[in-house]
């Protein structure tokens, strides 16, 4: 099996190279190679992934292959090698499946774009990078993939480069990511200098064996988490992800919902032996995660751009995952990662279909009543929404429930409490989105309205294909709770850490605390959904639900004393962008300008000043040469006297 592993990333890489070099010449068929490459990669990945899951590969006993010694420096070594265990397998499933579906979806979505070949080349490159990240067996290679996915994200966000906002968003995404990457890079250096290896399995062995002092463990964990925060758009580096929606929608689905943004979660989960040994850092992870979850959810409340709502939702869900990691619910985090990957991928692709339908309009205030016009999209998105809202028995319910349960049972009551609230908020804003988009009266531009039509099959089929796991994944791998298939798969990866943590969890008790929590949460979700229906309307004749939206009430609620501040803050994304703009663009620009001034005036001024002083001295001194011979003679006489005095001084010495 091991020899198959390199094929998984190399197939998309080959696709990238071929499409990149020849795509322009291939014209309308430029997607072919890219799509087939990913499809092939998917096939191989499935074999590998299920083999890995079936074998129950865990820490240190997975399948590895080393291609070559990448950096054989004196005092440093990093190899080009891959490693597959159960965790990798889970990720492979998500990445390749959604990746393949997004590729197929894009055939239709990008059909008329002149840069289609470029788009597919970039997508293939992304697939390669992401798979490299997932498969890498050492930290440096993970970092390489880490940076490369950042690059692809940059390229794809800025895909429509003539649009200034796209270019700016692309740059912002890359830069913010890089801030986190600095931490990751430092972590790698710390690991190398402390342990002398970057091979992850070897590092974990060493950490477990006590090869690293607790201080260094905490430092490394914290630095790694910095990287994760950047890539997974956690507070305070969450600002890039909403802007990243400037990219084509398939990109948002693939990169900014289902795969790349999960890299942070993956990294922390992958490094569970390190994090597990740093309880303090775990608290930080949980805190940042849950804070991000509530922060992003609060912003999602008021956004009007359909993709931005989904983006903030993504941030919020990622926060959940980090909270799960932080409380030690490792499997729950990965579970949520997978389910979220599918339903959020679905939601994004669906939103792309919506945007496609209404003539590239993303403002939900100019939508409404689309349910009947684009039914497939509507239905699949509804499934996604229900899933994310956490309505049983869809995927989101199980994964979210495990997270909240994990938090509660491991004593992180505050995490649970906030997470509980966020669950309600999630349901609310998702149904706000559904209501504004699909239900109620149409606000679509009459011009456009006539052209609204369902997307082509290349686009709808992926939606359907994604809706299946979004609906069924929970039951499939997450049932029964806390001992489903996924738990069995991932146990080898996490069990050591959990055991080392010294917490033996009580068995899942449906008729006990777990069931209670689930019911409470579900209740809150139901309330939130109904509230959203009241405010934004619902129209589901199949189950006899109908309610008109009430914009007046929305206005009234949002203007209520005490709430108006929250409303404005939410709408303004809590002013993070403005703060960043002030700090980095305005003040940073001024600082750079000041430094340049310093360079020109002080440093270069000194250099030129030396020249000027020299020249001026010359000009002054030349005046001695008056042209009058007696002046010269007097000069000589004075020189003579000086010399005589000099000699006398020496003589009497």
């Amino acid at each position: 099996m091991t020899y198959l592993i390199p094929l998984i990333p190399l197939l998309p890489l080959a696709g990238f190279v071929v499409t990149g070099l020849l795509g322009r010449q291939m014209g309308r068929e430029s997607h072919q190679i890219a799509v087939w490459a990913v499809a092939a990669s998917w096939a191989v990945a499935m074999v590998v992934a299920f083999a890995a899951l079936a074998h129950g590969f865990g820490i240190g006993d997975g399948a590895g292959i080393t291609l070559w010694n990448w950096i054989p420096a004196l005092g440093f070594k990093a190899e080009m090698g891959f490693y597959v265990d159960a965790l990798t397998g889970c990720l492979l499933i998500v990445v390749t499946t959604i990746g393949m579906l997004v590729h197929i979806y894009s055939i239709g979505y990008m059909a008329h774009d002149p840069g289609k070949w470029r788009f597919f080349a970039y997508l293939n490159l992304f697939m390669f990078s992401m798979l490299l990240l997932v498969l890498a067996d050492n930290f440096l290679l993970v970092f390489a993939g880490w940076e490369l996915v950042g690059l692809c994200s940059y390229l794809l966000i800025g895909f429509w480069y003539p649009r200034r906002s796209a270019a700016v968003a692309a740059k912002k995404a890359f830069l913010v990511n890089r801030i986190g990457d600095m931490g990751f890079a430092l972590a790698i250096m710390a690991i190398w200098t402390q342990l002398g290896t970057l091979n992850m399995q070897a590092v974990f062995k060493l950490v477990e064996g006590g090869g690293l002092s607790s201080t260094w463990i905490a430092v490394v964990a914290l630095l790694l988490f910095c990287g994760a925060v950047g890539k997974s758009a956690q507070f305070p580096l969450h600002v890039w992800l909403p802007d990243a929606m400037e990219g084509p929608t398939p990109v948002s689905a693939l990169i900014h919902a289902a795969t790349m943004v999960n890299a942070g979660v993956y990294l922390v989960a992958r490094c569970n032996p390190i994090f597990g040994a740093a309880p303090g850092v775990m608290v930080v992870v949980a805190a940042i995660g849950i804070f991000t979850a509530v922060l992003a959810a609060s912003i999602a409340f008021t956004q009007t751009d359909i993709k931005r709502v989904l983006a903030y939702s993504t941030i919020s869900q990622l926060g959940y995952m980090f909270a799960a990691l932080g409380v030690g619910a490792w499997t729950a985090a990965i579970f949520h990662l997978m389910s979220h990957g599918f339903f959020k991928g679905l939601l994004f692709l669906g939103s792309g279909s919506v945007i496609h339908a209404v003539g590239d309009e993303q403002d939900m205030r100019k939508m409404g009543g689309l349910a009947r016009k684009i039914p497939i999209t509507y239905v699949t998105m509804l499934i996604g929404s229900v899933a994310i809202a956490g309505v049983p028995p869809l995927a989101g319910f199980f994964s979210k429930d495990e997270i909240l349960g994990g938090a509660f049972k491991s004593g992180f009551l505050w995490v649970w409490a906030i997470g509980f609230v966020v669950a309600g908020m999630t349901a609310f804003y998702m149904f706000r989105l559904m209501g504004m988009t699909f239900w109620g009266p149409s606000h679509v531009d009459p011009e456009v309205e006539q052209h609204i039509h369902e997307s082509p099959t290349t686009m709808t089929r992926p939606l359907i294909l994604l809706a299946i796991p979004a609906a069924a994944l929970g039951l499939l791998i997450g049932f029964p709770p806390e001992s489903g298939l996924l738990h069995q798969w991932l146990a080898p990866v996490f069990e050591a850490t959990i055991a080392a943590g010294g917490r033996t969890e009580a068995a899942y008790s449906f008729f006990g605390i777990d069931g209670g929590l689930a019911i409470v949460t579900t209740g809150l979700v139901a309330i939130a959904i109904i509230a959203a229906w009241r405010l934004f309307g619902v129209d589901m004749p199949a189950i006899g639900l109908h309610a008109e939206p009430r914009p007046d009430q929305v206005r009234e609620v949002s203007a209520r004393r005490g709430l108006d501040f929250l409303y404005r803050g939410s709408a303004a994304k809590w002013w993070f962008d403005d703060l960043n703009n002030l700090l980095f663009v305005v003040w940073g620009g001024r600082l750079a300008g000041a430094v340049w001034w310093f360079d020109r005036v002080v440093i270069d001024g000194t250099v030129n000043g030396v020249g000027t002083v020299t020249t001026q001295a010359g000009l002054r001194l030349r005046r001695v040469q008056t042209g009058h011979v007696q002046n010269y003679a007097l000069g000589i006489a004075i020189g003579l006297i000086a010399m005589a005095l000099g000699y006398f001084l020496i003589a009497v010495r």
Binding site: I71, L74, E147, G158, Y161, A185, T193, W596
Partner: protein, 507 residues
């Protein structure tokens, strides 16, 4: 093989220069091709050298020694170790690329230009292979004159100011270095009963230094003089201000060579001479130099952000990138040193490529102001793609060579003191900031009014231009994936460097 291959490589361009001198200056095309031919021959010879170079043994290979001025023990002594070989290949490669890249842009006084370039090559190669301190100095100074002419004659509007600044600045450093070289040789002579034999011989000087025979105050003074000369050349903060001017005014190929090779001369001098000969002083000043390097790394990047001119931006980025090199040298770690040398090569490839690309645009627009650009991605897609590639390489993207060098420096310095890496790693963000912002302004957005006004002149890259860039791009990818090609060559030099610097070698 008893072929004096080093002399052959060194003097092939000189023969070329003489041949060119004999050609009548009106046959411009013939002159161009002859120059390229000789540069290619030198390149081929250097590749031969690389192939014949034995990886195993430490020390210098292909040695050639002829007494030159026996009265002072000055020899014509050449020899290469892994470091030198790499630098020679870099030099010969960039030279032919530069010459080829000059075919179009240089239309005036072609003969003088090509002669200058070939003579420049002689000096540059000579610096890298001279094993006699005095011979080194002579080649060092020979480099100065053709570059002075290249900037001064074929440069931009403010070329005279720039070239004078370049020359005077460099001369101040190098003349003081001469004093230091002579003082060192004299100390050696005085220690050998007044015999000048070997007083300028690198290996003997180094052995003498390793024996701890150079007095501390001599070391301090000589090191400072050498350091000044090399720091100006590198250039290190705060001796860097000649660089933006020189780069901005130089013709494209001049900038390529300036960035690609000339800056390396300083770093090479530090590695080859300044540290191994004066280890005490090197250790004494290591921390101040490390601080200066970090300042250069961060400062160069910050200043790059606000540069209005493409070339000036790349020039300041060089200050930042070369900061890694000096940092890597003075943390005295094998890893960091290897990273530093790798960084030297990377910087040659990447920045050389960036200057070529800026030159491509300048050829068409006769302007380099970033504010006037915009939308080139649509107008010149191939150019933009290649430009983007080099920018990413410059930003240190993994998989490309820039990453490995920088990372090795980081790791090495982190091992010495994490605070160094902590202070300098911020450049990851800053570099991305200035590069991507520049790229955004140049390539993205709609086509600017200025560019639209050029109409049909705004053609994409020509075949020749792609040929000049292809080797660099290939080098960047290959070294990014297989840095061992370089690192293996550096094993010996790094070990002997550290041994000379008095640091135990790990790994």
């Amino acid at each position: 093989m008893n072929l004096p291959i080093l002399s052959l490589i060194t003097f092939t361009p000189l023969v070329g220069a003489l041949v060119l001198a004999a050609l009548p200056s009106r046959h411009e095309e013939l002159i161009r091709r002859t120059a390229l031919g000789f540069a290619l021959v030198a390149w081929g010879l250097s590749l031969l050298l690389l192939a014949a170079f034995a990886l195993g043994p430490a020390g210098f290979q292909f040695n050639e020694t002829v007494d030159w001025i026996p009265a002072f023990g000055i020899q014509y002594k050449l020899g290469v170790d892994g470091l030198s070989v790499l630098m020679v290949v870099l030099t010969t490669t960039l030279t032919w690329i530069s010459i080829l890249a000059s075919f179009g842009p240089i239309k005036d006084r072609v003969k003088g230009y090509m002669i200058s370039f070939l003579v420049l090559e002689v000096g540059m190669i000579g610096v890298f292979i001279a094993l006699d301190f005095f011979l080194f100095y002579i080649f060092w100074e020979i480099v100065l004159v053709p570059m002075y002419l290249i900037i001064g004659i074929w440069g931009g509007s403010n070329r005279i100011y720039a070239t004078m600044k370049f020359v005077l600045y460099t001369l101040v450093g190098s003349l003081l270095m001469l004093v230091a070289i002579l003082a060192t040789a004299f100390a050696f002579q005085a220690g050998h009963g007044g015999s000048w034999t070997g007083a300028f011989d690198y290996t003997q000087l180094q052995a003498w230094s390793a024996g701890g025979h150079f007095a501390n105050d001599l070391q301090i003074l000589a090191f400072l003089a050498l350091f000044l000369a090399f720091a100006i050349k590198v250039p290190m903060f705060p001796f860097h201000t000649w660089l933006p001017d020189a780069h901005t005014e130089a013709p494209t190929a001049g900038s390529v060579i300036l960035a690609g090779v000339l800056l390396k001369l300083g770093a090479y001098g530090l590695i080859r001479f300044a540290v191994p000969l004066y280890p005490y002083a090197a250790h004494t000043f290591a921390w101040p130099i490390i601080v200066l390097s970090i300042v250069a790394i961060v400062y160069g990047a910050i200043v790059s952000i606000v540069q209005p001119d493409l070339k000036r931006l790349v020039a300041y980025s060089s200050v930042s990138h070369m900061g890694f090199v000096t940092l890597g040298i003075f943390v005295f770690s094998a890893t960091a040193l290897q990273g530093a040398v790798l960084q030297m090569i990377n910087h040659g490839l990447i920045t050389g490529g960036l200057f070529l690309l800026v030159g491509v645009v300048y050829e068409r627009t006769h302007d380099r102001t970033i504010a006037k650009m915009g939308g080139l991605a649509a107008a010149m897609p191939i150019w933009s793609t290649v430009f983007g590639f080099f920018i990413l390489a410059s930003a240190g993207l993994p998989g490309l060579s820039g990453f490995v060098g920088e990372f090795l420096v980081f790791v090495g310095s982190f091992g010495v003191a994490p605070v160094i890496a902590l202070a300098s790693i911020i450049v990851m963000v800053l570099a991305a900031t200035y590069l991507l912002w520049m790229f955004q302004r140049v390539a993205f957005g709609g086509l600017s009014d200025f560019l639209r006004g050029l109409g049909g002149h705004l053609t994409d890259m020509s075949g020749t231009e792609m040929v000049t860039l292809a080797p660099l791009a290939i080098g960047i990818v290959v070294l990014g994936l297989f840095p061992s090609l370089v690192l293996d060559l550096l094993r010996g030099p790094a070990q002997s460097f550290l041994a000379a610097a008095g640091v135990a070698v790990g790994g």
